[in-house]
Structures are given as structure tokens and as C-alpha cells.
């Protein structure tokens, strides 16, 4: 038997569906929580309806912009409903598809709102569309819309494990740089203003403490997945994971990220880990399981499915590595920064203004993006070159619409990375109206 055949057999073998069903419930609950937070705090209006201009992901500019409050409310309400249905296993297939589409649509509204864990949610919601965590413990089964099946093919939980593993492993890779591992930055900067944070705050100013915390974060990211996979260290790894994420939640403003990881990583446990819990809760899964069918243990994984899984895994492995196709430090150029799990990897801040030259009137003036953007958008713009280019094009178009057809737009962005002295991020003498962005090309207008 070849290695591929062996892998195929391992991925096709039936395993208890309990842990996947638990993941489905947790994920649905998280989606509900996420949507509720947005609605409750009025964030859809603040971040998506109020701004005059919205930044777009490359290739996703076609996604319809929702600018009305009612429309945004409907989007988040539908997202909440899809989360509820996923959690309950009700109309599961439709709910999973709706969740994926709605979440990606929500993300496409404004790229300044990009977050690594939102990208993770989008990927997980996509994976839920192609797996069957609803064949057990679901209303669809109770309603006889789906035949109950206590097992799933092993590739299904494996896919989620693989996806979650990448977050930590590439998170560790993002920390492999001199700032993080030799100087303890930006941790030192972050801890300097968190000396009110319990025990860790007390030690924040201790020489070497920030470096120790940096190393601890790196080692955690690097080791937690193997430790979760190995039965003997699993419990310790998960408890450490909980402590780590609760600590980061206490120290930093990272929203749902800790809860997502805490809620999703039990997928690394035994496939039937919920059963003892349910037994203790006097829900008798054995009774349920006795009545269910099981997957065919001799089933072979079809070639097309094996190929699809391989392609997906390859894309996920290679996407974060695309940053090596570009020259310069990714933390500075941000080429290949997104979708690469570079979580909490740097402290970057800056200021930007545009210089506009109207060759028809020979007039030159400066324009601060604050005039048209929210404070949050401004902060994202000031340090991210692709946004700087997008906004330059927007300015040019805005003035063209006002009759200024001969216009050059230059950007003066000064940025500091991890406490280093600020320096220009993009070429201040490059007319950005003459620059076109592309997916993998080198942005030679970024100053390295």
C-alpha cells in the first residue's frame, strides 16, 4: 500500500461524529454572538454605513456595498439566524451556505476591518458547507429530514484540525524575527501601558520580561498543535491554551479571537469526547447511537474528493507563504500580510497626507484623509500600502468628477514599526494615479 493509499484509507475510515457535531454547535453559537455584538453595539452603522469611502479586497470590489442601516441590520440578523440554525442543526445545508456567503459579504464591505480570526471564521464556515456535522444531535435528524449517522469519515474532523493548526503554526512563523525573539518588541511596548494588568502587569517593567513573554508566545504557538494531537499532553495543552487565550484577552483588545480558539480546539480531542459529558448530563447517547446507522468502514474515498482535499490543503499551506515572493520585510510592505495568520505580530503606526497637483490650474494642495474617512479607516490607511493606493485612486476619481481631469496624487506616509523611528512608507514623488495594483506583482512604489 502506498503512502497515498494509506492516507486515503485513514481519511476515509469512519470515526464518531460527536466532536464534529460539538464543533458545529460551538461555531453556530459564536456566529450568533458575533452578529449580536455588532447589532447591539451599533457597529454596522458606524463602520459600514457612515464612511464615505470603503476599502476593498483585491478582486472583491464587485461585492455589493450595503450602505443603509436597514440593509446592514438585515445582513447581521440573517447571519445570526444562520448561526442559530447551524447550532441547532436545522436546515443545516442551507444555513451553512448562507453563513459563508453572508460572512464573506460582510467582510467584503470594508477591507480595513480585516482580522485574522474573521478570515478563520470565513474558512470554517466554508468547510461546514462540505462536511456533515448535522447527522447527529440535530433538529434535521429529529425532523427526519436527514438520516441519522453516528459516524463521519475521518477527513471531516481532520480538515478542521488542519485549518486550526495553520493558525498557530503560521502564527509562530510570524514571530520569527529579530524584533520578537531578540528584543522582545512589540511586546515591550504593549506591556508598558498594561502595568495595571494583574500579576503580569506587575512584572511588565522587569528587564527581560517582555522578551520572556514574547518567547512564551512563540513557543506556545509552535507547540500547542502537536501537544493537542498527542494524547498524553492533550489535557495540559488545552488548559494552557485556555490560560493563554484568556491572558491575551485580558491584555489586548482582540474581541472574539480567544473564544473562537477555545471553543474550536476541542476538535483535537477524541472523536467521541462529548459522550462522557453527555452521559454525566444524563443524555444517553448510547440509546441514540444504537438507533443510528454507521458509515461503511470499507468505504474508499473517491479520487475527486481526495484531489479536492489535497488542493485545499496545498492552497492553505502556500497562501501564507506568498509573502516570500515579494522583496522586503512583510511587516513593512504588507505584501502577503493578509490571510497569512500574522496575528499580533507588530506595532505599526503612522501618519499620512496626500499632495494633489492640478496641472490645469498649476495648483498644489495637501489633503488629509481624515476629511473623508473614519479614525479607524485612517489608522489602517496610514500603514498599509494597498489602501494608500486605493485611496489615491479614489481621490483622483473624486476630483475628476468635479472637472479636474489633469490631476496627480502623491502620498506622504511616515510610519514607525515596532518603535523604530518613522520613515516614509511609499515614494512621495510617485504619482499614484499612474500606478495600478495587482495581486502578486512587486509594488516598487513602496520604499523598503
Amino acid at each position: 500500500m502506498t503512502a497515498i493509499e494509506g492516507l486515503r484509507a485513514r481519511l476515509a475510515r469512519p470515526v464518531p461524529a460527536d466532536s464534529l457535531a460539538a464543533l458545529r454547535m460551538a461555531f453556530g453559537a459564536l456566529i450568533m454572538w458575533l452578529a449580536l455584538r455588532y447589532i447591539w453595539n451599533g457597529w454596522p452603522e458606524k463602520y459600514y454605513a457612515a464612511p464615505e469611502f470603503h476599502f476593498k479586497y483585491y478582486g472583491l470590489a464587485w461585492a455589493p456595498q450595503i450602505s443603509s442601516r436597514v440593509g446592514l441590520l438585515a445582513l447581521f440578523s440573517a447571519l445570526f439566524a444562520s448561526g442559530l440554525c447551524i447550532a441547532l442543526g436545522l436546515f443545516y445545508r442551507y444555513a451553512a451556505a448562507a453563513c459563508f456567503i453572508l460572512f464573506v459579504w460582510f467582510q467584503a464591505q470594508d477591507a480595513t476591518q480585516y482580522l485574522n480570526h474573521y478570515y478563520l471564521v470565513a474558512l470554517l464556515s466554508a468547510l461546514f458547507c462540505f462536511t456533515s456535522p448535522h447527522r447527529i444531535y440535530s433538529l434535521d435528524v429529529l425532523r427526519k429530514r436527514e438520516s441519522e449517522c453516528a459516524d463521519v469519515a475521518a477527513w471531516q474532523p481532520a480538515l478542521f484540525r488542519f485549518q486550526l493548526s495553520l493558525v498557530y503554526l503560521y502564527g509562530a512563523l510570524a514571530k520569527v524575527n529579530a524584533d520578537w525573539l531578540l528584543y522582545g518588541e512589540p511586546m515591550g511596548a504593549w506591556l508598558a501601558v498594561r502595568n495595571d494588568a494583574g500579576l503580569i502587569g506587575q512584572f511588565a517593567a522587569l528587564p527581560g520580561f517582555a522578551l520572556a513573554v514574547s518567547w512564551a508566545g512563540f513557543v506556545f504557538d509552535l507547540c500547542v498543535v502537536p501537544a493537542l494531537l498527542w494524547r498524553k499532553t492533550r489535557v495540559a495543552a488545552y488548559l494552557t491554551l485556555i490560560a493563554f487565550h484568556l491572558l491575551t484577552r485580558e491584555l489586548f483588545q482582540i474581541g472574539l479571537f480567544p473564544w473562537i480558539m477555545i471553543a474550536c480546539t476541542p476538535i483535537f480531542f477524541r472523536y467521541d469526547w462529548p459522550q462522557p459529558l453527555l452521559r454525566r448530563l444524563r443524555v444517553a447517547p448510547q440509546t441514540l447511537r444504537a438507533a443510528t446507522t454507521t458509515a461503511d468502514a470499507r468505504a474508499r474515498m473517491p479520487n475527486w474528493r481526495m484531489t479536492l482535499l489535497g488542493v485545499y490543503a496545498l492552497v492553505q499551506c502556500l497562501t501564507p507563504l506568498r509573502l516570500y515572493l515579494h522583496p522586503g520585510d512583510v511587516r513593512w510592505t504588507e505584501q502577503g500580510f493578509r490571510f497569512a495568520w500574522r496575528i499580533m505580530a507588530m506595532q505599526k503606526s503612522g501618519t499620512i497626507e496626500y499632495r494633489l497637483y492640478d496641472c490645469a490650474s498649476n495648483a498644489t494642495w495637501l489633503e488629509s484623509p481624515r476629511a473623508r474617512l473614519t479614525a479607524f479607516q485612517y489608522n489602517m490607511l496610514s500603514t498599509q500600502p494597498d489602501f494608500i493606493l486605493q485611496y489615491a485612486h479614489y481621490l483622483a476619481q473624486t476630483y475628476r468628477d468635479q472637472g479636474r481631469s489633469c490631476l496627480a496624487v502623491y502620498a506622504d506616509a511616515r510610519v514607525s514599526l515596532n518603535g523604530a523611528p518613522a520613515r516614509p512608507l511609499v515614494d512621495p514623488e510617485r504619482d499614484l494615479t499612474r500606478v495600478e495594483d495587482c495581486l502578486l506583482c512587486d509594488r516598487d512604489w513602496i520604499l523598503h
Binding site: W43, N195, A204, A205, S361, L366, S368, R414, G419
Partner: protein, 390 residues
Amino acid sequence: MQAGAWLAIFSCASLVACDAGRLGPDALLAAFPPGPDTAGVLNFFALGFAVPAYVDLEQNAAALDQAAQDFQTAPGPGTLLNLRTRWRATQDRLKTTEIIFFGPASDSSLYARLDCWSRGFTLCARPGDCATTIDGVIAGAGTINNASIEASGVRVRGLPAIEYLLYDDGAGNASSAAVVAALNGRRLQYLRAVAANVRDRSRDLRRAWDPSSGNFARELTNAGSGGQFMRRSDALSWIVQQMILIIENVRDAKLGGPAGFTLKSAGVKNPALLESRFSRTSLADMRVALGGLRSVYTGEYGGQTGAGFSVIALDRNPDLDAQVRASLEMNLAQMDAIALKYGDLETALAADAPEASALFASLKELLVLVSADLVSASGANPGASPNDGD
């Protein structure tokens, strides 16, 4: 068994992590350097700067209102001079607090009711400026009193409205004689009403921050213990954001717009965009606003000292702290030099003074130091989205 042991270790570690900050042995903690006094920075901002600055503003606004009464009692060049002096003193106190544009100042629009200009609204003085103007109201027959001013928009009230009434007779004449002659009847009534309104709104601001009344100061002094700021670092980030915005406002709105450097004038010099153009004291507005930033940064206000934001910069990067201080002083000195050479900003801009361009460039360097270097070094997160982050 193994799970139980790990659970016990985890529980103990969590308890220690959560409680040692409060319960840990003092001797152990005293062995470690405390780091920057972040609590002191917030305490100084709230109690050493904001509250005393608002007390000063309230007192000066009351004196301004009294001066308006005195003028009504005995109109003449002497009482007008007193009135103008009181207006400038009140304007100085307000400009000092321009950096505190959050909390009651922004949430209740209290600041905009005192100073529409700094919030991006030009004054509606003469007919033609807007649909409703100061001169239009004066020429009309409607009631003019504190309540009517309170019900009106921000563009016909506050200290800019008082400046217009004190430095313009309604026909573009700023001479004392012309203004004294014009300042009677409904025009004087309008002045009295606006002055009373400025007094009341200044009092509202002071009360909103005062620990004995509204106590918004508590949001900062107790940051991280509930309230608006979940963490102390969130409050510090807000302060940095105010520092950045005040530099931008001084550079772009107070200088760049009128000088034709920025968007507002699209490359064309426009003295009508000057902040205090009727009294020709726009340079003083800039200087005092930047002085507010200096107070917040250095921890010095009204002869008292405390922990300014400087203590955080000093802890992280002493060179950077020195650079920020030097840049602040240099900008203030450049403003003084313009005053010395040209008298006022209006004259300097009319003469295309190279000093104005130099000041504009120098303010940019200060902006870069604060918004890039200081933010990066201090781990602050100004303008952050309150939703999420990673």
C-alpha cells in the same frame, strides 16, 4: 487522574495570575521596577489638567459675562477694551481645553456650542453667509435671550460670535469707535445673551468633569475598572489620539487652510478661513492650543506638575521624549517669531512669510513624532476600532 492534576495546577496558576496583583507580597513586588506611571498620567490628565482648565474657563467666562454687563451699563472705549481683553482671556482658556475633545465636550456637543470654528463650522455672521446669521437675527424681530441662543445652531453663538460682535460693527469696521457706536439695542442684547450662554455652557463643562458633580474625570482615573475604558491602555490611547488630532487641527485647519496649503483652500490662500480673523489673533489660538498639548505631554499646568504622557515616552525611549519636547518648544518658538516679526498671522500670510511655511513643515515633524514614533514606542492604539482586533 492526570487530567485532575493538570486541572489543579491550572486552577492554582489562574488564581495566582488573577489575584497576585492585589494580594501578592509587597516585598516581592517592590523588588521590581514599577514601569511608567500610567495611572499617574491619567490622574494628571483628568485632575491636574482637565478639571483645573475647565475651572479657569468657567471663571473667565463669568468675567466675560460681567464685562458685557459693564459695557451695557457704561458703553465706551474703556469698557469695550475690557470686554475684548476678557474675550481673549476666555478664548485662551477654551483653546487650552481644545485637546480634550472627548467625553462631555463631544458627546453633548458642549465644545461646539462654545467654539464652532474648531469643529469645522464657520461662523454665520453677515447676511449671505448662511440662511440664519447673527446680523440677520439682530435685524429681525425675534426674542433675543439666553434661551433663544441656546435654541440656535452652533454657527451663530459661542466665542466666535462674541469676537465678531466685539471686532466688527456689522459693516466690516473694527475700530473701537465704530464698534461702540454699533453695539447697542438688539446688537448689544445679542452680545449679552451669547456671553451669558458661554458662561452657562462653560459651567456645564466644568461640572461634567468635576469630581463633586458629573465626575467624568473618574472615567480616566478609574480606567480599567469599568466605565468607558475597559483597560487603562484604552484611556491612554484616547489621550494620544487627542494629541494627534490637536496637532492636525493646528497644522491643517488653523494654519494650512488659510495659507492655502491644504484641501480646504485647494491651494489658494484664503484669510477668511483664519480662526480669529476679526480680532486678528489667530496666532494666539494656535499657540494656546499647542500649549494645551504641551501641558498634557509634560505634565505641567497652572504652575502645578504631574505625570504627563512624557513619562511613558521617557520609559520606553528617552531620545524620543527629548525629540518630542524639543519639537514642541521649537513650534511654539516659531509662532513667537512670527508674532515678533509680523505682529499677527494675518499679516504674515498676506506677506507670504516663509516662516509660515516653515512652521507648517515643523508641525508636520511634530505630527510624525507623535502619531508614528510615540504611538509605536508606547504601544498605544489611537483610533482603534472598539469591535475587535488581532
